[in-house]
Every structure is written in structure tokens, then in C-alpha cells.
Amino acid sequence: MQATATQESQTKQALPGSPMSGSEIVIKALLAEQVDTIFGYPGGAIMPIYDALYDYMDQLEHILVRHEQGGIHAAQGYARASGRTGVVFATSGPGATNLVTGLADAMIDSTPVVCITGQVFAHLLGTDAFQETDVINITTPVTKWNYQVTDASEIAEALAKAFYIAKTGRPGPVLIDITKNAQLQKVDFAGYKACNYIRSYRPKPFVRPEYVKQAAELINAAQKPLIVFGQGVILGKAEDEFKAFVEKSGIPAAWTILGLSALPTTHPLNVGMLGMHGNYGPNVLTNECDVLIAIGMRFDDRVTGRLDKYAKQAKVIHLDIDPAEIDKNVKATVPVWGDCKETLPMLTAAIEAGVYPQWLQRFKDYDAREQEIVITPEKNPSTDKLSMAEVIEALNLATNNDAIIVTDVGQHQMVACRYAGFRQSKSNITSGGLGTMGFALPAAIGAHYGAPHRTVVAIIGDGGFQMTLQELGTIMQFGAPVKILILNNEFLGMVRQWQQLFHENRYSFVNITSPDYVTVAKGYGIAGQRINARENLTEAISTMINHPGAYLLEVMVGKENNVFPMVPQGRGVSEIILCAEDL
């Protein structure tokens, strides 16, 4: 629909004091929640809401995605880049079921998203009506909360609760399913009242000063303490408090993949990445530290490796906002329940300033070994084939470590997280918990709308890109200047790596072929090029970054490169290997 049509057609906005349609109440609610962008796709059961949106196009930007999964990943990218709640519209039936992957992703990565789905008329519920599906029950395991509205009078309250629940406590996705009759129904609307209290919902546990004190005592007595931090620091908007804690305590800090960018990568106490493809030092020394201070992280199995060999020698201090995370995987010696925005300053005040030169030297020694065996050869390959690591290095230089890096899932994701530099928080957006291939392209589009003044680079493998490349159409239509960096190794690389290492080189269905991506991009009006030679790398990256709009750069990289170090599945973190020969 064109803007001119808006001017010609009559507005359907309710006059002040007269009854308002449920659909218009939806829009009013979004405006009251200061939503500026919606990612969505229209359809039969949500048409009244789209009709109401038509009158508010000057106040709400709606990005028409090409698939509902793209819509919710875009909303996730928006939320992760902006720290605000992402909003999605989808219709009933397939529109709603297409959201499920994104909901599961947002659930496990604690991303605040509110999805509004249309539903068939209330009197048709349960009749197998056209595009009817039991969205509430399908999405129950993958939403923090969901609710079906069948009467317009419920809409404002349901949405107020939805926004409150999505963004408070441990954030998560919420879905509100609105039947078509409720969208059409006109009711008296007294105005929108934001929700800030639900009787049965305690977003934040109480901070127990006695536990903060106990934690401080443990830290003050520690000889070899280690901080492991996750996305809780970013979600709690506690980056400054965290940095103050790290700097006063003098304790080395290692990150989970979702914690990445909460502390600048060049910070002297940032000792790198934890887990399966993390850095050598933090993994090995997790099993040597005497006090492990976990902040806003949930001891995912990719971080801990084999649990019965994880930090058994250490006293564990666990700071988390979600009481269900305490003792879930790793038993806490001292649990510090609460929002780390509150607990970190209390802890910082209670500890003595510390320095651990010998302990830090251990990390440096392990780093030197990792540099020698892995990092230096990765960045300076001995063959003409480009390595993923040198591409990321070139990107760091071109962006001055200041881009938002959105990654998909697989080898390129691990390499990007290992090698990308970050200066500011909310700059690393990836599907960590769920490992959703196809996440990066739509999430990068969303990240642009969440942080419009920043450079957004989507780093994607040749497998993942083919899962959601239809969103190039969204870029074409709305002009999000997303830089798409495809690292093409002509394989589903991570699975291939496992098949090589653990399945006797039996490459079962990992040799995926690619279309000519540059031509595909051209079809969508997106500029691009493909390179495979080292001498073109710097210039190609720079061309991509400096291009005024979206750009696709396909880099052909070594086909059978592996990501190391690696904690093989079923092994402890200190059994991390630096090369295949160590297996």
C-alpha cells in the first residue's frame, strides 16, 4: 500500500470518548509502551489489527518480513541491540507456528519479545476452522507467559502484562493471541495503564545482605579466584557495575558466548571465552580456581563440559536473578539471588581491592600456548586458502572493533566469537542456547532498527544463510544497511568437523552446495562480491563496510578447517584439546 492511499482513505480512528475497536486498542497499547518498530506479516486473522495500524503508520514503523520466523528473529535482534522489547505481529495458524523457533530461541536466551498473533473468531475455536491452531498450547513451553484474548475489554490489560513480564526479571518471550472478534469488537477504552505489579509474579528476588557478606568473605580469602560472566550483566544493564567489580577485585574474568561484549575484549582482566570452543586458559583454570564467581550465567553444558569434572575444587558464588538457576547445574556454595545491577555494587563495596599477579600469569602462559598452537596459525595460515579467523581480524580492523556482530550458528559463529573485538556492550548478537541456524540475517535486520546508528555485520555460514535468505527481500524493501559476510567453506562445517573427529571421516550429508550468492543478492538489488584470495580481503571488507547500503560479501574459506581449541563432548573443561592430534 502506498502512502498516497493513506491520505485519500478515511481514517478509522475512534473519536475521543467513543468506543474503540480492540485492534485500535492494540495500537494504542504499543504506542503507550513506546514501541517504535514492529516486525510482522499480515494474514486473515490479524487483518483488523493491520487495518488499525494503517491509521498509525506515521507513529509506528512496521517492517514487513518475508517469513514469520524472520519476524521474530528480527525482533530478537532489535531487543538485543537496543535493550528494549521486540514486537512481532503474525496471523493465526501457520503464521503463529512459524514463530515457534524464534520463541524457543528467545526463551533460552532470555530475550524480551512480545508476539501478537491473530486467532480465528472465538466461536470457531476448537472447530478446526481455517488457519486455526492451538497456539497457546503449542507455545506454552517456549514462552515465559502467554494468553488468549477473546474479548476486546481484555486487550489493554493483557498487553500491559505482556510487556511487563517480557522485560522484567529474567526477560523472555510473551505471546498474546487475540481472536478476530475481539479485534473487531468496540468497547469503551479508558486509556492504557502500564503494568508494574502482578500478585503471583516476583521478577526480582530479594537481595540477602548476609549472602553478599559471605560471598565477599570467600572472595577476600581467595588465592585463585575466577569470574565467569554471562548475559545477565547485559540484561541487567550492569556493565559499569560489573567493570567496577572486576577492576576492584582484580580477578580475571571469562565470558560465556552471550556474555561477550559486556566487558571490552581488550580489558586487561578479560581472559577470554569459556566452554567447548573457548580459550585454553579459562577452561583449564576453571578446574584450578579456588573461588568461582558466576555472574548472570546458567552453567550451560557447552560451558561446563562434563559436570562431574567441572570446578569440583572450587567454592562457587552464583549471582543470578532467577532462583531456579541456583543449584540447577552447579551447586552454589553461596547463592546471591538478585539483579546484578543491585548485587554487584554491594559486593564491590564489601570486597577488598585485590591483585593476583601470579594467578593472572597462569592465564597468560596458557594464552601464549594457545597463540602458538592455534591463534597465530589461524590468523596467518600457511596455505593460500583463507581462514575464518583472518577474515574476522580484517573485519576488526575495518570496523575498529566497534560494529554489532550478529552471528549464525556453526564454525563461523565460534570463530567470530573467539576473534571479534568489542568495545561496547550489546554488540554481540547470536543464537547461543538454541543454536538456531538462519538466525543471523533476520536478527541483523532487527539489530539495525534497534541501533540505527551502528554498523551491523551479519556473519553467516553457507548453510545457515540458505535457511532464511528470503529476508534479503526485507532488506531490499526497507533498506536496512546490513553487511552480510558469508564465510563459505562449502560444508556444514561444524557437523563435518564432528564427523571427521568422532565419526571416522564419514561425511554424511554435510557437503551442501550454494547458489551464486552475489547473483542472488543482485536479484534483490543488493550489491556484493565474492572473493577467495588473501590479497583481496582487506579491500573487500573495507568496500563492504564503507558501502552506503546493504552489502553481501562472500568469502571462500578453507573447506576442512576445524575450530580449536575444543572440549570434546563428555570430557571435563580441563581436558580441552588444542588440535586434532591431542584427541
Binding site: I136, T140, R199, S200, P205, R208, A324, K328
Partner: protein, 196 residues
């Protein structure tokens, strides 16, 4: 840790879909629910679930935290059988003719604490309320006489140390409740769970 029977008591808002939200916490972890009862509670408008499972305390503790994490759940507790008073009710339908001819009905009623709910020409319905072994015991007695139908209810349980939810709900309804309502964090100190 040894598996044993635990009864989980959950106080919730009365919302459609919440039963499913709670049930999938168990099914996702492949834990069988032995018995599930929902009923009103001592507080108007607040629902009460009793869920019985056979698990280790470690698992139960984690489940309770996951349950309490649900937005519409106010509180969840778990108790071993020693910590609760519990009952199940069973109904038994037997042919009246057989019973009157072959069973000392009077003794049956006394020994098993049974009562007669209905007597018709063709069948009689007995009721026994008690623990599992008591309701099971009655099956054994009646089986030889042609037990036509048997049904047993879910467990209902009252926690011995609980003073009810009346006071607690007032805390929940306060905008800034005291720390006591967030006591699930003290699950490690099982015996002190009721600080009301």
C-alpha cells in the same frame, strides 16, 4: 539420593492453561505424575494443586523452583510423606447379591473403615478413604466377589506445619512484600520452609 514419594503443593491463580504449564514441567523431564489434584484452597480465588511424584529430593527441589518460576504460581512447596496428612478416596462397585450372600459386610465395613454409598438391587458401592495400602487392601477383599468397577481419586494433602495461605496472600498482595514470600530460595533448609 534415594527416590521416594513427594507431594508438591502449589498455590496458583485460577487461570486457563496453567495446568498445562505445570504439567509440561514434569513431562519435559520425562517424570511421571503419580497423582494430580486441583481444588480451591483456603483462600478464595486461589487454586491449590497437589502433585505426587516418585523422585529424589534433588530433582523435586529443582522442579519446585521451575514451578514457582511460572508467572501465575504464587508458591510451591514439596513435602515427604512424613510431613503431610494425606488421603485418597476410592469407590468400589460390587454385585449386591454376592456381597450379601458371601461377605460379612459388617466386618468389612469395620475392618476397612469403609462406608456404603449406594445399595441397589443389582450393585452396591462402597467407599474407602485413606492411604494407598488401605484402598488397595479393599480391592483384594472385594475382588473374589466380582468387583465390577474401581476408581481412586488423586491424593489430597495438608502440610502439617502449614498455617495456611491467608497470611501469605496478604504479603503477596502488598506492593513490596517482605522477604518471607520469596522463601523458595530457602529450599535448602526444608524444615524452615514455613516461616509464616
Amino acid at each position: 539420593m534415594q527416590k521416594q514419594e513427594y507431594t508438591i503443593t502449589v498455590y496458583t491463580e485460577n487461570h486457563i492453561g496453567l495446568l498445562n504449564r505445570i504439567a509440561i514441567i514434569f513431562s519435559r523431564r520425562k517424570i511421571n505424575i503419580d497423582s494430580l489434584n486441583t481444588s480451591p484452597s483456603e483462600v478464595p480465588g486461589i487454586h491449590r494443586f497437589n502433585i505426587v511424584i516418585d523422585e529424589t529430593e534433588d530433582v523435586v527441589k529443582k522442579l519446585v523452583r521451575q514451578i514457582e518460576k511460572q508467572v501465575e504460581v504464587l508458591k510451591a512447596y514439596y513435602s515427604s510423606n512424613e510431613e503431610i496428612i494425606w488421603q485418597e478416596m476410592a469407590l468400589y462397585k460390587v454385585p449386591t447379591k454376592q456381597i450379601t450372600q458371601k461377605v460379612y459386610v459388617e466386618r468389612l465395613l469395620r475392618q476397612h473403615g469403609a462406608s456404603v454409598v449406594v445399595i441397589r438391587e443389582d450393585y452396591t458401592i462402597f467407599e474407602v478413604t485413606g492411604h494407598r495400602e488401605e484402598t488397595d487392601g479393599m480391592i483384594k477383599v472385594l475382588e473374589p466377589y466380582g468387583l465390577i468397577e474401581f476408581v481412586r481419586s488423586a491424593r489430597v494433602a495438608i502440610i502439617k506445619e502449614s498455617n495456611g495461605f491467608h497470611e501469605k496472600i496478604k504479603e503477596f498482595e502488598r506492593f513490596a512484600p517482605s522477604d518471607e514470600v520469596v522463601e523458595n530460595e530457602y529450599l535448602n533448609e526444608q524444615e524452615h520452609v514455613f516461616s509464616m
